[in-house]
Amino acid sequence: MQPDFIGIEELVWERLSLIPDPEVPVISILDLGVVRKVRYDGNTLEIVITPTYTGCPAMSLFVAEIKAAMHDQGFDEVEIKTVYSPPWTTDWLSPVAKEKLRQYGIAPPVKDIDPDNPFALAPVIPCPRCDSEDTKLISQFGATACKSLYSCNSCKEPFEYFKHF
């Protein structure tokens, strides 16, 4: 009997949805939208990913965690391929993921950069705790490459903003 590869691929997707993002554990790597394709040919399992951020140190961790999870599932031959095109964008974050981020205290990405107008000014980022729009940028670059640091003038809490990419 032919093994059901489609069923196996679905199982892989399901297993991937359980792997948390190493930096923001409330969302999974599937929520993040880095996995582009899963293919199994009966021997080798191929998983195609797109890096969120060019120099993201979490990428090698993603690869290691995906490999470990798949080995646990009994796949011996796991190949992880990286593709850059089309480039990853925060638009691939699911609405659920954005809400999870906000509840975690990280302001989710809004369209704050315009590739057609790179010299435009940054818009207001609302506070994830009190929704106030009276916030200020502390630093464009935060604890991880994908986040900026803000503080809220209303509730006085500092918060992180997941940048728009």
Binding site: P51, Y53, T54, G55, C56, P57, V83, Y84, S85, P86, P87, W88, T89, I113, P115, D116, P118, F119, L121, A122, I138, S139, Q140, F141, G142, A143, A145, L149, K163, H164, F165
Partner: protein, 249 residues
Amino acid sequence: MDTQQALFQYCLRLGDTNLILGHRLSEMCSRGPMLEEDIALTNFALDHIGQAEALLKYAGEVEGKGRSEDDLSYLRPVEEFCNWRLVEQPNTDFAFVIARQFMVDVYQCLFYQKLQKSNNEILAGMAGRFLKESIYHQRHTSAWVQRLGLGTAESHRRIQKAFNDLWKHTPEMLSAKPNEKMLVDYGIAPDPEELALDWTVQVIRVITQSGLRRPADGFVESYTAHTEHLGHLLAEMQYLQRAYPGAKW
């Protein structure tokens, strides 16, 4: 020279400029004027090294001799590096680091915006990715140019001096490179002349808004050699692979 060779050289140039700038920025780690800025500069370093990694990996594939991005970074002698001389200049003070970075950021914003439309899909994809990083960089450094230019007499003096000192490297940065024309004609590379014009307009706009003067043009060096600083930088960057060939961890 065929297109593949020209493309290899092209990617090498883009990769090297990012790699060397990334290394210079990594030298700022623990030397930023404040914690946030230290983090920002090392984030910049990470972005540029990430861009270099992707570009040099692709360069190696185009070349087809089996050289990886690591081989190209760690095992080439200084004469084979083709980064802009602007980015190999040693860090002096914070104003210098910001001025140099600002000049590169504006360039990369404009360049990646155009490269996104390249008919080389791999380069176009990378450019789309890198552009978003460059926009954040540019926002950050433009704000600093303004802050330093309109700040105290001392900050104004330092940022003006930084631009004056760096300006001599702009002709090299903005000129068309050997065999680039071929790639422009094929729709692979953006036209460097157009870029040079846009870059000048944008940079002068921010410099003027910051109460600074446009440095004098006219000092054009020959483009054939690197400044002596690159050799020193490589001696440090490549040390491990030179001392322990093939070392891994």
